[in-house]
Subunit: 899 residues, 2 copies
């Protein structure tokens, strides 16, 4: 038989063909090759879909290919499609290149008609046959109706209510027959046509409907969010039906080769007796844990365990498997590399590497900084302070506090206003995706660990608790009744612990994650074995990252304790020590005294004394490692009282007939130093022309601290950085002034060699980098300021006034303050590096803006050839991980798209 | 005789050798070739000077070359150097490549000794001989002593005081002898050595002293200001002495081939009987006008007139000539292309072109925008309102008001504080240069039109009045007594009219120059023939500029009258119409109503009505020419009341126990719209996300105005410009919104094709220009904002807080807001042009920042390939001139450095 690019039989494919067969089809073919008990079937390819989408009709040659493949299927199964004594039914399943869980349609039991249902009943019983039929009508109808499918759901709900049962599987045969009649009436009313009674017609329409579902709004939203290209199309798998709903010896399950929440190396999943697959996933009936299957169906269980182990070996990763048991016989219906929680990602990658299933580089490539970041998320500090009001399954770890909302739209609009929200639902479906993305946590009354809510929340790092038994969610009334009697109203604050599955009414205080604590203090013992295993895995992968990284990770710190913390977290020095941070709070008045000239020498001496003390602590904590001290940067008026406050005070004094000359003088000073656009005003190196003494003190203090530590046997490595330089002449002047202080020898008579660098944080500095390099030992890219000036927008103003509107309207894909704008700011960085290196090939290159801690940005900096990034101490481990990944992945995408 | 690069005889050189011979030497050689009565002599070259400056000693071979050249000089003159019955004396004159008037030293009468003075006396009389001797000692001593030369001046002053005479030429022989003795004592005390009594030793030391004077502080300052390279060195001319001080039939003069102040085609100058050249220039004695020479020495006068005409023909330009008459015989001592006032520059260039001495292109190259700008300077409006208190010579035209200061240092420090000052001096010397540069006007008691003060002030475009007879300047007491009895104290405000020579005590109101008025209104008749000639010359040259220019000149305007004025001045359209200007003043409240939402529809309607009216006027005034309308640009809070004012009001109300809800609401609104850095905040295209209606009104108004004018038979050419775009997505969104309004047809049923452009005024817009070009019909470079963001400094803050300090400390050569920063902002402009054209080869390119009216910047934009600049209406003519010059000069320097 000649292979066609439009249709491929399971026997003819393998997992490398995912582009053509979609993920599901490729894996079904792969499992068929492995000899696993996979039903017979074939895949209508993504190319067929693309042709359909482009031309609006099925490719002409497809019909004959399907007819031929169906004939082979009949031969293989010994059944006749939708006819005869033993009718062959098929499932029609979508399956795109990239997993889009729940986004597209699947139709089971295709081939059932008014006549074949009788034959099926004769073989498997009337209840079974009519249950299949009502499912076919439901799924076929849902696919045809799209948004109007609620009418069909209502028909099911009516039938259950009429019978007084919770679930349609509990309906009698008669009621099932009535239900099918009712469903077909709805279908006819809404679409104008009945369920086709020609099985081939059913099949043809089902395939087309799945093609169409590629362009459904929810599928488009998902792809936009996940960055999946629009033009890939989906494959359609046509598979021999096997039945989990023939009775108690049948059932369907979803499982993982390991625990996808913790990474524990034990298969994990849910099983539902007498059910087809959709029943498990949609959480409409309560599942039993996978382990319970051992007692129910020991043979099938043993086979399943063996196959799971085989799949994990074969795929070299956590696998997610769907299976059905039909009268005691096991069928594997689907597998794929499984999604996992961030914690599980680390534990599994490290474990597989330990067992040499994968290399350490692969382990490193399989985790990322966003996952590590979620592990470092805060946890609740004092759960004893507030009794929990309900408990469910810990579906996605984390600890979040937010206002309860009861629908996706409310979640989206509240989030747009900057409020943290918890989405509370009976269960979630694909329509809820925007709401889940907008929420910090999701809570559902129904569903297990593999439910839609759980899978999506884990994938996006949202806290999630599912299966809160007894919780009654009243969406219309916007409230949820808990079994404890507590009622949660919209707007009530909930604390959700995704690690324990507990819910709390009210806000809980928060403390750092145990992973963060363990990483910050190696001597700290892990609270339990799960945490210990996780911390061990993170450490193992971080060590691999460190061994690979070319990009060094330094930290921003202004105090000794911060520096010590950063060093414990693996920082290789301080890349940004902001001298102005030593002058905040109660020390602000010192700068005011310098500005006003009120005992200026005394105030300067006090500032210098403070700086010597702080810098000594920092240099001591970073003994032997570089500490880059930035000269005073902010506009000086930040140290003065607010003009408006003083003006109000002065006006009130005057109206009371009093005159306070001191107040008037302060107001005049504040006005004189007021800047219309402080960000673009008198600050940084520009202070050298106006108050050079205030710049000198920190240079002198750094020299003094260095001399002091040397005398005590330490090895301080200070460096100086000049901020806000636009022109080489400014740097030359600053350098001359700084070097005067550096020539002062210490007690030993020796002077301190101290590299002098320049912040490249203005477009002009980037453009003039060739000349700056002559005067600078290193560049430090201040990407915050560079973003502000390159875009002409200040962070203070942009965020609240228009940037959020830009993002929500899609005008801006990413916030350039969070992730570096490679096309604008990035080009200036690259240009500065090129010009700087052209002048001085070995010039040091660092980054000290917020982007230094952002995973995507770190890869950019690594590619651009930067030597180090300097981020806040808590982000040091994230930066270390990404610095290593940047080397392992090279120019490849920062997330592993094969999963 | 073999030519040496170190020494060249006048017979062997010509004017093309100015690099080697300096300007003076090359012109002396040229005049020698022309057969003019030039004394014999030779030039020690700039190369000799450079070798001296590099090695610190005179080149070894120079001594022999000088000895040989002096021997030839003795042969040619029939005299013996510093010896014999008829001793040869020489002048030793500096002469660099570029004229540095008064900056370097000249020594006359070199070769006089105690013995040769006797021989000279025997030939020319004792008074003459000893006058020469005291001059030699004075000049030689001044050169040796430098800053300590005041001791020598004191000796002269003492001698005059003792004799009761005003001037040393009036001293008796005995007193002259005593003076020489006294001067030589001072010289010995201060330098440790006497005047050498070996003539060759005198000559050698004098040459070295002139070499040294290249590096005097005042010479360095002059070069820095004029942009003359430091490494050129000066030539030294050794010239046979001829004597203007032998008696009444002798004298010295300085003259121009035409009037250097007005350009009138009549030779013009000063003559002083019985004087050597320095007496004329330093203004220590009152000169007579050149015309008076005709009566005194008719033969020499006729010869001089003939030579002046010949020189102007030969040099094809105004020449500046120094001459001496010795016993009735004329000697030409120096010539060069003469400095002239801006008015004279235009009149002379146009006149020479009219007489086909030069081409019109040459005429265009010989004037510049700075000169034209000074002609457009304001004049006093009402001179009748204030009686003049003194009058002198109108040495440099213009009208200036400033505080009187009496020394250079005070002028510099007051100017640094931003105060306008008038420098009042008895006479000025090279030491006063910094003070003249710092002042808006210079007034001297002594000196003629060719005095130091007059020449320097004209060169730098400062208003100047010289020779205010009877004015007694008391520098120590910081006051000047005028003949009228008025006393001017330091700090008193003076009004100085450099066109009439009148001084006024107090400030005079100011009105535009008659040139500006004539250009603005062609029907306006010139007040007199001088103005008429000037205006005619300017028009003639402007017409040539227009015929050459590729760069179009448009204007910025927001009202019909402004647009009409701009058109009269030659603007080819409106390149920037700022819609926000239509909403200032009493209309501000309309925007506030829109923001607050208080009858928003009504306020928007009113804003649209105003805009339709204003835009109709502008489009009508510019009928058939493009009018580029910029959408609302400034931060909206500019239209709201000030937060501080409102807070004070609210606090006062509250303290009085009153509550004004309206006031509180306004304060809250003002606070909500307040921007921390308004320049980087919610403005320009960003308003589209927040208040799109406020952007719409101007688009609708422009469409309505266009339809209206078309219906009336006009040909309006509106264009729209979107400000502050950083990303192509913003422009795409704005374009979509704008185009909706453009689709509204007019009465005729036709829609208006309206080009949509983008302001390139943020670094990111320049970087993304390739993509912006896809969405834009034209780019308009907003170089003000682009400078602010590229440098990270706002004009509001930088000017007062550090930019002036940067300039005075030399950290910044030019204010990047005045003249485009080619290396930073300019690179972004070039890059944007390159990328924009790569996408769309014919994209329109304009500039609408302040730089559009700056001469130097215009040449940059022309080189960069910009299509048009748009400047304020009064600068249109300057821009037109420079646009033409840019083509004529091509890549050459913007000033003609051969003058």
């Amino acid at each position: 038989m000649t292979a066609s690019p439009l249709l491929v039989r399971f026997d003819d494919g393998d997992r490398t063909m995912a582009d053509l067969l979609g993920g599901k089809g490729a894996n079904l073919a792969e499992m068929t090759r492995m000899g696993l008990p996979v039903p017979h079937g074939f895949t209508i390819t993504t190319q067929a879909c693309r042709e359909y989408l482009a031309k609006g009709q099925v490719p002409a040659e497809l019909a004959a290919l399907v007819t031929s493949a169906m004939a082979d299927l009949e031969t293989a199964t010994g059944q006749t499609f939708g006819a005869g004594d033993d009718p062959l039914l098929v499932s029609v399943r979508s399956g795109a290149r990239f997993s889009m869980p729940g986004m597209m349609d699947t139709i089971l039991n295709v081939g059932l008609t008014d006549s074949s249902v009788q034959a099926l009943a004769a073989r498997g019983g009337e209840r079974f046959a009519w249950d299949c039929y009502r499912r076919l009508v439901q799924m076929y109808g849902r696919t045809m109706l799209g948004a109007e499918a609620a009418h069909l759901d209502a028909a099911v709900a009516d039938a259950c209510a009429g019978a007084g049962v919770a679930d349609p599987t509990a309906l009698s045969v008669g009621r099932l027959m009535d239900l099918v009649t009712h469903q077909r009436q709805v279908l006819k009313e809404q679409t104008g046509h009945d369920l086709p009674q020609d099985p081939h017609d059913q099949l043809r329409r089902s395939v087309e409907a799945v093609f169409e579902s590629w362009n459904s709004p929810r599928a488009r939203l998902y792809r936009a969010h996940e960055g999946i290209p629009e033009d890939l199309g989906t494959a359609v798998n046509v598979v021999q039906m096997v039945y989990g709903n023939t009775g108690p010896r049948s059932g369907s399950g979803v499982c993982f080769t390991r625990d996808p929440a913790t990474g524990s190396p034990v298969p994990y999943g849910d099983y539902l007796q007498n059910a087809q697959g959709e029943d498990v996933v949609n959480g409409s009936r309560q599942t039993v844990p996978l382990a319970a299957l051992e007692a129910l169906e020991p043979t099938a269980f043993d086979q399943l365990m063996s196959h799971l182990a085989g799949l994990e070996r074969h795929y070299r990763d956590l696998c997610d498997v769907e299976f059905t048991i039909e009268d005691g016989a096991l069928w594997i219906l689907q597998t794929r590399v499984g999604k996992r929680s961030p914690a599980a990602a680390f534990v599994i990658a490290a474990d597989l590497a330990r067992h040499e299933v994968i290399t350490m580089d692969e382990a490193l490539a399989r985790v990322d900084g966003h996952q590590l970041e979620s592990l470092l998320h805060d946890q609740f500090d004092d759960q004893d302070g507030l009794p929990w009001v309900a408990a469910g399954l810990p579906a996605s770890p984390g600890a979040s506090v937010g206002e309860a909302v009861f629908d996706s739209d409310s979640a989206v609009s509240a989030a747009a206003e900057g409020r943290a929200v918890v989405l509370v639902r009976a269960e979630t479906s694909a329509e809820d995706l925007p709401g889940i993305l907008a929420s910090c946590a999701v809570v559902t009354a129904r569903g297990g660990l593999a439910s839609h809510a759980a899978v999506v929340a884990r994938g996006f790092g949202r806290t999630c608790v599912t299966g809160v038994e007894g919780m009654a969610v009243d969406e219309a009334a916007r409230q949820a009744h808990l079994p404890s009697g507590v009622v949660i109203h919209q707007g009530d604050v909930l604390s959700v612990d995704g690690t324990t599955g507990k819910l709390y009414a009210g806000p809980l205080p928060i403390r750092p994650s145990s992973v963060a604590a363990a990483l910050a203090d190696p001597s700290d013992e892990a609270p339990d074995a799960v945490v210990a295993r996780l911390v061990g895995s993170v450490r193992q992968i971080l060590a691999q990252a460190d061994s690979r990284a070319r990009l060094k990770v330094l930290a921003n710190a202004e105090t000794g304790p911060q520096a010590a913390q950063a060093r414990r977290l693996g920082a290789q020095g301080i890349g940004l020590c902001r001298t102005e941070h030593m002058l905040l709070g109660s020390r602000r008045h010192l700068v005011e005294r310098v500005i006003v000239g009120d005992d200026r020498p005394g105030a300067l001496l006090e500032i210098e004394r403070i700086a010597v003390d702080e810098l000594t602590q920092i240099l001591r904590a970073m003994d032997g490692l570089p500490v880059v001290v930035r000269l005073l940067d902010p506009p000086l008026h930040e140290f003065l009282p607010d003009c408006e406050d003083l003006a109000v005070q002065a006006a009130l004094e005057a109206s009371a007939g009093r005159v306070d000359p001191g107040l008037r003088a302060r107001l005049e000073t504040a006005r004189r130093w007021h800047q219309v656009n402080p960000m673009l005003g008198l600050r940084g190196v520009r202070l050298l022309t106006v108050l050079p003494e205030l710049v000198d003190v920190h240079v002198r203090a750094l020299v003094a601290a260095t001399h002091g530590l040397r005398a005590d046997g330490f090895d301080p490595r200070p460096e100086i950085m000049v901020p806000l330089v636009a022109d080489p002449a400014e740097l030359a002047a600053a350098r001359t002034r700084i070097r005067q202080h550096l020539e002062v020898p210490g007690a030993s008579g020796a002077t301190v060699p101290m590299p002098i660098g320049v912040m490249v944080e203005l477009p002009r500095a980037a453009l003039r980098a060739g000349e700056l390099a002559r005067l600078a030992d290193f560049f430090s890219f201040g990407t915050n300021d560079l973003t502000q000036t390159t875009w002409g927008m200040s962070r203070d103003d942009a965020q609240t006034s228009f940037l959020s509107a830009y993002r929500s309207s899609g005008l801006l894909e990413r916030d350039p303050f969070e992730s570096i704008d490679e096309e604008g700011v990035g080009e200036l960085v690259q240009l500065a590096i090129e010009r700087g290196r052209h002048t001085k090939a070995d010039i040091g290159l660092g980054v000290c803006g917020e982007h230094a801690g952002d995973p995507g940005s770190i890869h950019f900096f690594a590619r651009a050839g930067v030597d180090y990034v300097s981020c806040s101490p808590p982000r040091v481990v994230i930066a270390r991980l990404e610095a290593g990944r940047a080397e392992v992945l090279g120019g490849r995408a920062t997330t592993d798209d094969t999963r």
